[in-house]
Symmetry: C2
Subunit: 436 residues, 2 copies
Amino acid sequence: MPVFLDSTDSGFAAAFAALLTAKREDSVDVDDAVAAIIADVRARGDAALIDLTEKFDRLRLTPETLAFSAEEIEAECAKVPVAERDALELAAERIRAYHVRQMPEDAQWTDPEGAMLGWRWTPVSAAGLYVPGGLASYPSSVLMNAIPAQVAGVERLVICAPTPDGRANPLVLLAARLSGVETVYRLGGAQAIAALAYGTETVRPVDKITGPGNAFVAAAKRRVFGRVGIDMIAGPSEILVIADADNDPDWVAIDLLSQAEHDESAQSILITDDAGFGRAVAAAVEKRLETLERRAIAGASWRDYGAVVTVRDLAEAAELSNRVAPEHLELCVADPEALAARITHAGAIFLGQWTPEAIGDYIGGPNHVLPTARSARFSSGLSVMDFVKRTTLAKMTPAALRAIGPAAETLAISESLEAHGLSVRARLDKMNEVPE
Amino acid sequence: MPVFLDSTDSGFAAAFAALLTAKREDSVDVDDAVAAIIADVRARGDAALIDLTEKFDRLRLTPETLAFSAEEIEAECAKVPVAERDALELAAERIRAYHVRQMPEDAQWTDPEGAMLGWRWTPVSAAGLYVPGGLASYPSSVLMNAIPAQVAGVERLVICAPTPDGRANPLVLLAARLSGVETVYRLGGAQAIAALAYGTETVRPVDKITGPGNAFVAAAKRRVFGRVGIDMIAGPSEILVIADADNDPDWVAIDLLSQAEHDESAQSILITDDAGFGRAVAAAVEKRLETLERRAIAGASWRDYGAVVTVRDLAEAAELSNRVAPEHLELCVADPEALAARITHAGAIFLGQWTPEAIGDYIGGPNHVLPTARSARFSSGLSVMDFVKRTTLAKMTPAALRAIGPAAETLAISESLEAHGLSVRARLDKMNEVPE
């Protein structure tokens, strides 16, 4: 049974605080193992990759077969049924159309003192995307990671995806081809991250690594952070639905289950201003759980971390939601725009009852890589911005330096940084000799 | 002696690669000590802060004196000489004017299928800035961290700054007041970071922590990352100057020293297309080192990590600079704009000989918190963007869902996520009953 809370109950504040701080993930300590794997790849390069892939994926590679050949990719892509190919192409097109709008603009201006100021954006040169194997091998995630990089103008885009026992996912390879990926390596785990960060004889290193992965991959990403850029370390998925009584309880129930089915550690929360509707949704969840394919996973998530919260009104719902800072937020209410205006922290908002969260996972256009574990308080989902960086620009004229240089010199001296001050002073002293 | 390289020498490629990978920082392993300090602050709150501050800063605080009072700040600010006050105010004004232009814009549009898509930016609610004590207590860094947060609309902005033996830096307090900081705590080290991340009876937790610090502060920031957002982990400062022969060797020498004086691990590199000019700059550095106040630090940095690289032409200089991806890049050449167009990786570019890097440290307007250690390949300097986050928006109409929903369902099924598909299917099935 999920927890049922009512904001008018005396114990509510404590119970809601407990919901916020509930630890949903056992952090397996794989850090030492990961450190050893990274050291091995740095020391032995391809040979380490080959040995580790044989050990973990039961697959014997050679330097020549570390990556799929063009023919192999072609053959795998040809296996994809036409309906799935069409769906993937539509998704790619819509994700691209959304992300193209995110490209930031350069700026340059001259200030009143005559100084030119501004900034310029440039893409990361090379990015590596990690795609998990097994059950969580999602072609949609390939699109969500690769297309923003492609839109940003990243020159070289590669994928590492493990192929346990040699089994590839044709949809993953098709998604890679649809989003401009140059090379797909048959590599997984910490060894894949090490190869992307440090390079080997065959794998060229990249500057940024993104994509989800298991505890080994997450620990490896943390370790190589600084040498390369990484995206966030994703936690288990979450959904918060704010719904009034004017909704089909079954729709809301399936929406809650669509996160719960990801992972036993996922969390689904309903906040409603109608206690009876809350009970109806909980009943609908139980009914759906009777037949759902992934009922073991979804049931455990709902039982252990699910919550139905009854509130006085929607304003209170928004306040509570902001404390959760959910990854996904559905607003199934009569005026979702008005309620959205009260939301200050959320990864993605889905407005109105015709917008199930799953639309955002696949085809809406926005990215489905979103901040989890309350990190929407301070971070954003994946975007084009993750694959570009800003260089600031400044150009002084003699007149501009004369106007603002003395203040810089004063501050440099106050900070005991003499050479800083001298670098300005030398130019100011020369100024009388210089025609403007 | 710094290293002298010539790109036409046979050993150049290897020597330049060695320059790129030279390890400039001993990573002191303070991680266990930091873990213990964080655990102590989480367990004992204020009492731990008070004990640790007595131990490390020789200062006995109480919960009431953890923060400066308004009267204390007033009294400290009154000590600042008028020239320094004016300089700090001018700096604040110029930094604000630059950063105001960085505010990203919300977007919302309707696509051809009738789906509303877009995103919205909101500020982080609370941010904490760390300001080191002692020699590296820089008021300019207060402005560079606090003003972007203030411009972003962060509601609550606090500072932690240690005051060893009770000594405060009046300029730091004035800078805090000029940039909208609400509270300044007399706290330093890992205990300050723990207090900002987890809160105590007196210190309210924040959502984002920025600012430089020693090895303890850096390790603490790494540890609390995820619970709160952090900025980059800054390494030692770097400057790369590309200069042709038409420059005053002394100006370039001082500019190189203005980074070298920060830290024995700082790195200053000159790339020039004129070997004679390179030698003249090296001679000018030696001459300035005879009298520079911080000659011990600057001399060690220049001797151990300095480099003078002679290249065939400026195009080659740009290529090498892009491999370095320097934090600060000065272009002292006849046409700096043309050369800047060839630069793909740099934290900040200073164009032309009238723009010493120190202008950017204090008063130019751009931020002086910039990516070090080659991380300009994938990251940017501090900006308003570090204090805002994006929430994506999507709203389907029944018609839009009919157009794109089936593809989402197809992909959900292909990923074995049945509830995802059902959440779309339930709505599609209902559609005939719904007037559009």
